[in-house]
């Protein structure tokens, strides 16, 4: 039981890490290698506000979200839009996007070091035990899990039941057909990218309550997020959630029952198994 709960909590964390990338990659077609850095920016902000002004990280997200939204919208408009226009094929866009966002991740790490320095930053927030089914769990992890649930549910409902959300999903499925039915694809892509960035930064603020980070750690999160998004199926919120939970529970199972030294190997083994049997991801569509 405690393995399942611990695994679910970890899965919730992973969902927070990967959800934003799913929007960016699935809808805006940008494989954003600077995603982890955006997460660290969110975490930095939460840290700075908490240690400077004792603002709760769960309040910080209301500042982080709009700022990150705007920032990512600008990034898309200024830096990525020209690539989308220039690309002759999906493959070429992918290549350009990888190079650009990798450069961008360097720039962001550089800026963070300039502004905050390279030191570790960590603070203690809600590091209190809560008892569930007779076992102790960190309150901060529980809160992060609840945060992930709220965020994912909200996104899911919004994407499936609002006009704007449906349009975004249409773009994810097929940009060409979306254009035919009168959807402004470039505008929506920019919005989806911005929204993805905001979600990632919020995730960063939330997980900073229990992880110790420094300016250079972003790439670790990017890799995890990529695996989860691909595993779940690009452009599908449900897929990302399920993949995150599968990964979280799988890693915890291995860590508890076999050897914590093999968690990452498990993650990749899961990844490749899923892709061998379902190359389009758990929830992906064949055509996508």
């Amino acid at each position: 039981m405690d393995i399942i709960i611990t695994g679910l909590f970890l899965g919730g964390t992973y969902a927070l890490i990967a959800m934003g990338l799913n929007l960016q990659y699935g809808v805006a077609r940008i494989m954003n290698l600077a995603n982890g850095e955006m997460l660290v920016v969110g975490a930095f902000t939460a840290f700075a506000l908490y240690s400077g002004a004792a603002v709760s990280p769960f309040l910080t997200i209301f500042i982080v979200a709009p700022v990150a939204y705007l920032l990512n919208w600008l990034i898309y408009r200024i830096m990525l839009r020209p690539l989308v226009t220039r690309a002759k094929s999906r493959g070429m866009l992918e290549q350009d996007a990888i190079l650009t966002t990798f450069g961008l991740s360097f720039v962001m790490v550089g800026l963070m070091i300039w502004v905050f320095g390279g030191d570790y930053f960590s603070y203690s927030y809600l590091a209190r035990p809560v008892v569930l089914f007779g076992d102790n769990y960190g309150l901060n992890r529980l809160s992060a899990f609840i945060g992930a649930v709220i965020l994912c549910t909200a996104l899911y409902i919004w994407l499936n039941h609002s006009r704007a959300g449906m349009a975004i999903r249409a773009v994810a499925v097929s940009p060409k057909s979306a254009r035919l039915v009168g959807i402004d694809v470039p505008k929506l892509s920019a919005r989806a990218f911005a929204l993805g960035g905001a979600v990632t930064a919020v995730g960063g603020a939330v997980i900073s309550t229990f992880l110790t980070l420094d300016a250079s750690t972003g790439v670790l999160f990017t890799m995890k997020a990529l695996i989860i998004v691909i595993m779940g199926g690009v452009g599908d919120v449900r897929g990302t959630i399920v993949a995150a939970l599968v990964l979280g529970v799988g890693e915890t199972l291995v860590a508890s029952l076999i050897d914590p030294g093999l968690t990452l190997a498990t993650a990749y083994a899961l990844f490749i198994l899923i892709l061998l049997f379902r190359p389009q991801g758990l929830f992906g569509r064949k055509s996508a």
Partner: protein
């Protein structure tokens, strides 16, 4: 375009005017290579860079180094090696050959220091490492006669923890059962492979043992399993990120142990900053002589100059390495590195970490191996070579 950090505070100018003769002399070019980015940047930002800044500004405020009767100011060239040994090698070579550096400081960490060791060796520059812990000192000393070790052998470091624990066990304060975990990286593996036999030899029973990969995000399965084994002591040879993570998980799980020991990062000031009162009684790698006025004075100066507090392990050693260089240069009155190296081998040095001498393998004869947070200071509880100021470890009482 060279960006040379030239510490010219107004106090330095005033001191120079007093020194008079200093005006004519060329500055001494000091080369420094260490990570400013990459995985080890976090550690270097605490332990390495602030000390260089402090040393240079203090020496220059005094009017510079006295080299054979001539007062010469210090001028620093800093390079970021991005935690990449190829860059370290390139940067050290660049310092020697393009920048004509008079002094080159050892890079940061075991791996990066050793990557640069052949170059230091070829150039005949003394390389005083303050952040390299290894078990191969014998072999390395044979290959690189200019390489000095301040941090000591990993076997001694692990042994220090065991020694402190055995003391408490023999006094009947804790039981025999130990949970032993380590980060599966070169450093953690080296420590655990020295620490495990030492624990067994001391009569401890290892009731839980595991390793976890660097960068593990959720350490709670480990802490839960450790708790289920009902240990009397918890020992983790860990890196900063997981040191913080394990400690937090132990608080959450309410791990009831008399000894809680974690690795690198325990001695960081931010550790006490994060865990506050709960840090009290936690043991870890390193330690200082907390009753030493010299150390306390150094800590205060470092914070005043750089805004960053020293960690209670390698920071002081880093500053000590600079003091040793300084003393050797002033005593020999030359920048001839062969003479300086010989002087370092032959003499003992008064530093912020106490008196330091090197054995015939250029390893420091006295260093701290284990410490414990006591009243907000990380005090040394075990040392190699019988240092002054060892305090008695006490049993950790709860997490509040």
């Amino acid at each position: 375009m060279k960006r040379r950090t030239f510490f010219r505070a107004s106090t330095a100018l005033a001191a120079m005017t007093l020194a008079g003769a200093a005006f004519a002399a060329d500055p001494i070019v000091v080369g420094a290579v260490a990570p400013k980015t990459g995985p080890l940047a976090g550690g270097a930002a605490v332990t390495h860079w602030p000390n260089i800044q402090l040393w240079v500004s203090e020496v220059n405020a005094r009017g510079g180094l006295n080299v054979g009767g001539e007062q010469r100011m210090l001028e620093v060239i800093e390079y970021d090696d991005q935690t990449n040994p190829a860059e370290t090698i390139k940067a050290v070579t660049r310092l020697a050959q393009q920048d004509n550096a008079d002094i080159i400081l050892s890079p940061y960490s075991t791996g990066l220091s050793l990557a640069a060791a052949p170059i230091f060796d070829r150039l005949g520059i003394p390389q005083i490492t303050s952040s390299a812990a290894t078990d191969q000192i014998d072999e390395l000393a044979g290959q690189f006669p200019n390489l000095f070790f301040l941090l000591g052998r990993s076997a001694e470091i692990a042994g220090g923890a065991v020694e402190a624990m055995a003391k408490m066990r023999d006094a009947g304060e804790i039981g025999n059962r130990v949970a032993l975990v380590n980060v599966a990286d070169a450093f953690g593996i080296e420590l655990v492979s020295a620490g495990k036999p030492a624990l067994e030899a001391a009569g401890f029973e290892i009731v839980y043992e595991t390793s976890y990969p660097l960068g593990t995000q959720d350490l709670s399965p480990i802490m839960k399993a450790a708790k289920d084994a009902e240990p009397d002591a918890f020992v983790a040879f860990s890196y900063p990120g997981d040191t913080f993570g394990l400690t937090e998980q132990a608080m959450i799980e309410g791990l009831d142990v008399g000894v809680f020991y974690t690795g690198v990062g325990t001695a960081f000031p931010s550790f006490a900053g994060r865990f506050g009162a709960a840090a009290e009684g936690i043991m870890g790698i390193g330690g200082v002589n907390a009753s030493s006025e010299t150390f306390l004075d150094y800590a205060a100066r470092l914070e005043a100059e750089t805004g960053s507090q020293p960690d209670y392990w390698a920071s002081g050693q880093m500053y000590a390495s600079l003091q040793i260089l300084e003393a050797a240069i002033e005593a020999t009155g030359t920048l001839d590195m062969a003479e300086v190296t010989q002087y370092i081998k032959d003499n003992s040095f008064e530093t912020v970490m106490g008196t330091i001498t090197f054995d015939d393998q250029n390893s420091s004869t006295g260093y701290w191996t284990a410490g414990q947070w006591q009243d907000g200071v990380f005090k040394g509880v075990a040392s190699f070579g019988g240092l002054d100021g060892v305090v008695e470890p006490f049993v950790k009482a709860g997490w509040e």
